[in-house]
């Protein structure tokens, strides 16, 4: 039975249990809803350190040298998305993503705590 995680009626309830989140993910997978077949958009991010730039401050061994930047394509794709707030927000907006539920849970806890603080 899925409990609503926005409910504040149950004083002990803080989080959606992991089981419930997993149930949501499993059912989405079985429906095959996520569609990765569309071709991914070409990366628009261009690094501020072009190939050949010395990445200063990384080396800390006596006999080593600071690493040199490779071409942008030599780095994994996820690196260019990891700092992108749009990618993150898209995940939070997607109800099939774990991040969505974690963020919803977080906001529910904040709201709950706010209400509790007001009383004291």
């Amino acid at each position: 039975m899925l409990k609503s995680f926005t409910s504040t009626a149950f004083s002990g309830l803080r989080t959606v249990s992991q089981q419930q989140v997993r149930c949501i993910q499993v059912s989405a997978r079985s429906l095959n809803v996520k569609d990765d077949s569309a071709p991914k958009a070409k990366r628009t991010v261009v690094s501020s350190a072009p190939e050949g730039t010395v990445l200063k401050g990384i080396n800390y061994m006596k006999d080593g040298k600071d690493p040199v930047a490779l071409a942008d394509d030599a780095y994994p794709e996820w690196l260019w998305e990891i700092n992108d707030p749009e990618v993150r927000n898209a995940r939070i907006a997607d109800p099939l993503d774990k991040k969505h539920h974690k963020e919803a849970r977080r906001q529910a806890i904040k709201a709950d705590n706010f209400i509790r603080d007001k009383k004291t």
Binding site: V45, V46, S47, S48, A49, T53, L55, K56, G57, I58, Y60, M61, K62, D63, P67, A69, L70, Y75, P76, W78, L79, W80, I82, N83
Partner: protein, 150 residues
């Protein structure tokens, strides 16, 4: 913190020691002395093990002191904040962070990637993906007031 046989209870000690420069009384001496370890022994071994590291680089070290006062230690890679400050070219992290305060430095994603590669070699990171470690480095940068740019 691991108790093996009742006779040899081990205690863990976590310190940050500058490479090649051990033995000052304040950080190391009392901490080891309390557990019955001669700080000179540790310092000699530590300095020997870290002789290939740039002098003065802060290195976290985990010392396991056994019940019979013998010790072993493991050295880890420098703290992420150390790397970030050097990569951004700043001495100290920000005093205050947030939308009302400007950034104090800047690093790019390729530097973050290289830092994460170094961190990945540590023992405690075996279960983390490189992507996860990068995310951690970015988190550290943000909490220090360092902007992460592409």
């Amino acid at each position: 913190m691991s108790k093996k046989a009742p006779a040899a209870a081990a205690s863990l000690l976590r310190l940050v020691v500058p490479a090649g420069k051990a033995t000052p009384s304040p950080p190391i001496g009392p901490a080891l002395g309390q557990r019955g370890v001669k700080s000179m022994d540790f310092c000699k071994q530590f300095n020997d093990r870290t002789k290939n590291v740039d002098a003065g680089t802060p290195l976290p070290v985990i010392i396991t002191v056994k019940g019979d006062r013998t010790f072993t230690f493991v050295t880890k890679s420098p703290p992420t904040s150390f790397f970030l400050k050097r990569a951004a070219g700043i001495e100290k992290g920000a005093t205050n962070i947030g939308k009302d305060h400007p950034f104090v430095g800047k690093v790019n994603l390729k530097q973050v990637y290289e830092i994460a590669k170094i961190k990945q070699a540590d023992d405690g990171m075996g279960h983390l993906s490189l992507k996860g470690i990068c995310a951690g480095v970015i988190g550290s940068a943000k909490s220090m007031g360092i902007e992460v740019v592409a």
